[in-house]
Symmetry: D2
Subunit: 496 residues, 4 copies
Amino acid sequence: MTKTNYFRHRLDEELDEMAAGYIGSWAEDKRLIDIDIRVNEAHTLMLYKQGVIRRNDAKKILEMLKLAREDWRKGKFEFDREDIDVHIATEKYVIKSGLDIGGKLHTGKSRNDQVATDMRIYTREQIVDILELLLDFISSLAELSNEYKGDPMPGYTHGQHAQVTTVGYYLLGYAQGFLRDVDRLLNAYDRVNLSSLGACALVGTSINIDREYTADMLGFDGIIENSMDAVSSRDFVMEVLSTVTLIMTKLSRMAEDLIDFSTYEYRFIRLPDRYCDISSVMPQKKNPDVLEMIRASAGKTNGLLIESAMGTLRLSTGYSKDLQPIKKNLCEAVDIVKPSITLMEGILKGLEYNFDRMREVIEENYVTATDLAEFIVQNKDFSFRESHILVGELVKTAEKQKKKLKDLSPDEISKISANVLGKDIVISKKELEEATDALLSIERRGVTGPSPVSIERILKSLNPGIKKRREDIEGIKDRLKSAEERFQKTKDDVMG
Amino acid sequence: MTKTNYFRHRLDEELDEMAAGYIGSWAEDKRLIDIDIRVNEAHTLMLYKQGVIRRNDAKKILEMLKLAREDWRKGKFEFDREDIDVHIATEKYVIKSGLDIGGKLHTGKSRNDQVATDMRIYTREQIVDILELLLDFISSLAELSNEYKGDPMPGYTHGQHAQVTTVGYYLLGYAQGFLRDVDRLLNAYDRVNLSSLGACALVGTSINIDREYTADMLGFDGIIENSMDAVSSRDFVMEVLSTVTLIMTKLSRMAEDLIDFSTYEYRFIRLPDRYCDISSVMPQKKNPDVLEMIRASAGKTNGLLIESAMGTLRLSTGYSKDLQPIKKNLCEAVDIVKPSITLMEGILKGLEYNFDRMREVIEENYVTATDLAEFIVQNKDFSFRESHILVGELVKTAEKQKKKLKDLSPDEISKISANVLGKDIVISKKELEEATDALLSIERRGVTGPSPVSIERILKSLNPGIKKRREDIEGIKDRLKSAEERFQKTKDDVMG
Amino acid sequence: MTKTNYFRHRLDEELDEMAAGYIGSWAEDKRLIDIDIRVNEAHTLMLYKQGVIRRNDAKKILEMLKLAREDWRKGKFEFDREDIDVHIATEKYVIKSGLDIGGKLHTGKSRNDQVATDMRIYTREQIVDILELLLDFISSLAELSNEYKGDPMPGYTHGQHAQVTTVGYYLLGYAQGFLRDVDRLLNAYDRVNLSSLGACALVGTSINIDREYTADMLGFDGIIENSMDAVSSRDFVMEVLSTVTLIMTKLSRMAEDLIDFSTYEYRFIRLPDRYCDISSVMPQKKNPDVLEMIRASAGKTNGLLIESAMGTLRLSTGYSKDLQPIKKNLCEAVDIVKPSITLMEGILKGLEYNFDRMREVIEENYVTATDLAEFIVQNKDFSFRESHILVGELVKTAEKQKKKLKDLSPDEISKISANVLGKDIVISKKELEEATDALLSIERRGVTGPSPVSIERILKSLNPGIKKRREDIEGIKDRLKSAEERFQKTKDDVMG
Amino acid sequence: MTKTNYFRHRLDEELDEMAAGYIGSWAEDKRLIDIDIRVNEAHTLMLYKQGVIRRNDAKKILEMLKLAREDWRKGKFEFDREDIDVHIATEKYVIKSGLDIGGKLHTGKSRNDQVATDMRIYTREQIVDILELLLDFISSLAELSNEYKGDPMPGYTHGQHAQVTTVGYYLLGYAQGFLRDVDRLLNAYDRVNLSSLGACALVGTSINIDREYTADMLGFDGIIENSMDAVSSRDFVMEVLSTVTLIMTKLSRMAEDLIDFSTYEYRFIRLPDRYCDISSVMPQKKNPDVLEMIRASAGKTNGLLIESAMGTLRLSTGYSKDLQPIKKNLCEAVDIVKPSITLMEGILKGLEYNFDRMREVIEENYVTATDLAEFIVQNKDFSFRESHILVGELVKTAEKQKKKLKDLSPDEISKISANVLGKDIVISKKELEEATDALLSIERRGVTGPSPVSIERILKSLNPGIKKRREDIEGIKDRLKSAEERFQKTKDDVMG
């Protein structure tokens, strides 16, 4: 053999060097190497079990794979530019033991099914990681929600004061929202954790392989039956990327809120210094860099999603190199979402609240105007629309006089009502005060809305919900662990 | 009241006319009006049940809503530019009966919770529609898969001939892929079919409402408990849009294949004329316009997904007008995916296959080279890599001589092997022929891969899978129908 | 002829009805019909001039086209579902005069070059419109900038108070930014205003046409020479869409600022009521709906850009139906950007500023800390980094004592400096006051930065810049107008 | 000073370690370090010239910057995680010479204006690089176009045979298309090459700086006058990213064509082996991996564009950390487009054409049907639509009889015409043959379209156009070089 690259025998030229760098995926494959070796081991065990290769061959190959893993961990696994990807590099390592034995590793297996298998293992590991981070975060949100269940804050719609809510209720809404993403990831897991191995290049193989066996060894819950589907599809990645962007989008909204709340204008919260940066010029600055980066990173994950979509758009069926960037996109998205969750949790735990300022804002503006409108409906025989019209006029009047609503006189109110609606109203000072009081506003929400009792009630069902999902994840991990043990035992048995 | 628009009492000016067109959502709201009336009816029944409004008021309001629906159906429901959206228009219609009674419709209800509720109902209806179209399509794929289970076609990777597959197996792969999207939509349904009604503007209401009751009347399976979450979140739309893009991306790949297959160069299929268009200049042209549009429309739905993501990126919590375009995006996506599925099904059913041409292509090119390599592994004591190197050289040689693989002489092969691998091989003419035969190639796949027995085996589990999902959808529809009956009965009872 | 649709003679079946709706572009073609007729007229005149058709034929065709235009304006131009697009519909209208004469309209012309030509005319018209709106807007910004050149406002980085700026300077920055978009559109115009007509379906025609002649008649500045390029390329649309998104992104940032500035927390501005909407529930609300929609619409135009990109990604050369949605995307983008500019201009002109509040904020927070740091550098022999460290400590101290910087005592400052830097500093009360004064801060900027003199200086070059671009646009319009006159005269000559 | 990080004096805590990694930009800043040092040098020279710092201080700082550059080149410039970015790291390096002198580097300069300045220099360098690669590529296309000007190939629309074109004409279309991108980049250059330096954090500085001077030293053609605009805007990056995506989209279409043309089904071209990869399983495979990656990479650059757009969407004015990822996106886009151009050029130069196969395809299918239709129009007194109908019927008939058009008998044609149009036609065998001949078809295009004379004519204006742009680029480079020389001389003068 005069060719240096015995994979390219069919071609007359070596791969162009710039081309090798351009199509290679080593940068992202580095994080797949351990997985790739595992997949090769499982495949080898299966070939032996099926009688496709002899025990001694299997032993030799497994030995080489073990060495490869050790070398990798020691930073001694070297690869050539022409290797392009982890699969070639690993096989070449194994073939150091000879083309006659090492050359059997690739029997009935292709890079096409292997990269899909590697990615499915990597994806499931990342799902488990993200799920655990997310549930920790949700637990923190639930705890903080309980802690701040009685602290009124202005609620916003259209960026303007809407009605009174509580800090606890605000946080609780996010806890419940993120829990939906937990469910989405759990749903996705079922579609991810299926083995592509044995699909070979496109249509399986005439070699007598056992797909269920390798699937079991590698902890998969089943196989992707159609081999063309198995090597062509990346919808399992897209589904995870979609959920990652949903998580990041929620974090981005939360970050926007916290950045606003931490400004001088709002002064609702004080961000922990350790999550802020300074200005190299302006000595007074304390910049919410981490929150800004979380906010911006939602744009990045959305971009990765759309890039991945473009990777398969108008692409004919069957593996094509066009699918490769999706692997990288997944890695990048994972690198964004994991620290984003952790950092947001750290920030929320380290916040200092300025409840006085929130109360001040609630009282000075007209945040309880709806409470007054509803009070009138419940007590004065006005329809809601009538009451809405009346209170609208009251706000306009109060604003022009730079007054609070409760400082309008009953007479004035009566006059305005007659004028606008042709309808009398008798409302006392005390009624006015009570109807527009912030704490009473919350209390009036009863068992729904932002009141402490409502929050407590919701937490009573939320906390078991969190626990249930934790158990689901433990179940997944247990299944993976026991598969790994079976796998290890089988390897040991063969190695003798 | 001198104001023409009694909603704007708090403001000094009417809405600018260009602004009204700019922020209005009438174009898309037209498809929500029936739903919106239903939601108003349910809310009215609840207000009466809770004692918030009197029976006579409830009757009057229900009567007006009924008239509104009738007028709408007759095309007589007129709206002003200043109405902005369906919610204002409906309330204004009801208030024609008087501000004192009609003005009660909006008690304890906001446009914020109502638009979310309307969208959830619309979304669930669309999910059911898409699910039914998709399952019909999958059933057709399964049937066609069975019909063409023994017809060999060249399989492609990298757009090049890879190995022999069958038409049936190709179609089956898509059937299985689309079934995952069915499951995704079913998973999404559970997160969509929860009521936002009663969340009011942001924090619920002090009016004594019953959220569970309206949820039940409207066929929801539960409520979104946190009111801030209920009015701020659009992740339920995003999840559906994500799945729609997955469906469209698969269709786009299928369309790409069929367009290729229908060219003169491939000549594998003949597209039904009724799905093709002509050229206004080139008399011979028959253009696959429908397939091209399906292919391109995946770009559109991906765009709608990303637009919707940008709708909430860096957006503070609480309803903002920024959320409105998401409603329109959903409508557009639905209008794309539904005909796309139906048209693709029609095209697939109307295809004429040119099996002779496919056989010709398989035989003239080297599509069965892998079969030969695997034959050598199984019979000649070569490792796979050795065999791969050898067959690679054989292909190169045959190509240069413009020969088929089976036309290489055993001697030549032996010489090449010795030369490249330093290893002898004795392979007979007959072995060569059998190893490279297309039909035998398929047969050798046994119970996995593109063989007829494999397809039959898969269909045996796929068909019950399809049936199971059909039952799930019937279950959903039954629940919705019985809710509707309860709703109707309650209305009748109140109306007397 | 038994076929109802004589275009489809080559095919055996009529177009499927759902398919016709799916691939048809009537919705967007409605705005192209007038242009399409013009293009047909120019083509007809050219065919006559070249001797391809006789004068009587030309007259008849021009007559029918005139009728078509009149019918269209009266709403009487009817089209069938099978017409698919404006080009077929127009030709069918002309052929009402007989297949022998009307059938000559399409000689040497295809829908492929015609749709590209129509789009180029439409695009150039839209560019001119947008340019005029944009220059009006920039002029308003420049005027407002001059009006508010001396009004201090806090400048922000990272959403936090950075340094003192002026309202005028803030607005001026946008004027200069938008002027770059004007230049981009002017650059794009040169690449848009080239004729595709005569490229025919793909490779031109053997008919003796004159491409330069029709280009001239239609006001184009030249032709796209390569016919394959002419029918395949849509980069001219992409370039315009890109610039539209740049405009919208700037508007989106401005909208974000104004929404923030109009909150109770900032209270810097009061939005004109006519650009705000109310809440149907919360009587006190005044919602910045128009600004929110501008903000969100940047997401839409970005989406349209990416959709259009996906329309050509991985698409083989030559016209394909995949290009059609780009036409629609362009129309939608134009419908967004035009009112967005006008509405933003209206809002800015109608703003009421609360300068007192801005001063208050500047004085109460540490917005002039950098001024103090620079004062120390300039007067006390501290390096900037030393000064930055010192003032950083001063801010920390002042904040803890709830003091302003100017209220720190010289002694305290001296002690802190010694402590932190091991360096003495003597700074008087008066120095401290002057260094941290907002108006002096602006004044110190001299001829650069947010000072009135700087703004006046910049306006002295900006205003001629605006004028220059207005003249460019007038030049474009004059050229188009004189082409139109030549065109009209030629038509009249032929019609006799 | 007890603080290890003297930049953070205003804060009580060090930056969280995970946060530092999360917000840091070292990975991409590595390619900016040389530029950053240059900017610091220019700023130092200016401070000295303006009398802000003394000559000895300037010398010391310049010395340290020189050492920093040398250390960097030797790989000895180390940075801490807390450095976050290149600007901090460089200043810290300089401050090793003492806080009193090194601390003067940052006088009147902020990271905000510096990062914008660095990016503008980096962007202009990349524009020049891309322009040169692009013009080389266009020159190659022009040469190849000339070489293959007479070689007929089938032209495609809708992926189907449309009309006859030539290889030269196909390539020429791309040459002309890419030349538009050259112009776009040249237009963009004018908006990129303006200095942001001196804008400082947001509003300039009270230090007596000279913005024009540093702009000149650094080779800028002017300054961004408004400092708020200068630090907030990234539209210059977006414009370049937009053009990069236009380039990549064209490459993606070309790649799609070449991949198709290289299949067994087309067999029009043979790809150079050095740009292809093999299959690890299928011995016969030769995969167009490089073309596939080019095709897919257009999706990546589009994604980077949209990510960058999302970076500024709904973002308030002024620098925010949200802008940082745009820097990274630009770097990634540049890393894609540059090798993509080079590799495509390599592939095109190495292609082997199979002209026989192209001729075969043209003759066997009905690619010249339009020529026949036009022949009839020109010679038989049929309107084009009549002729189109007739030839459409002829194709249908020929196809059913598996004949070529020229093999239809004159009688048959006459009969069909009478039947379909009620119109006689007498067409001879010879006319039929000539009208449908491929080479004659090309010839008939005359001075427009895909004929050799037309290509020669276009090249006569294209080549000077290429030359003109080359001169423009040389002009740019000369200006940059002479600025650099002035800069170096000034440095030498100060250093003595």
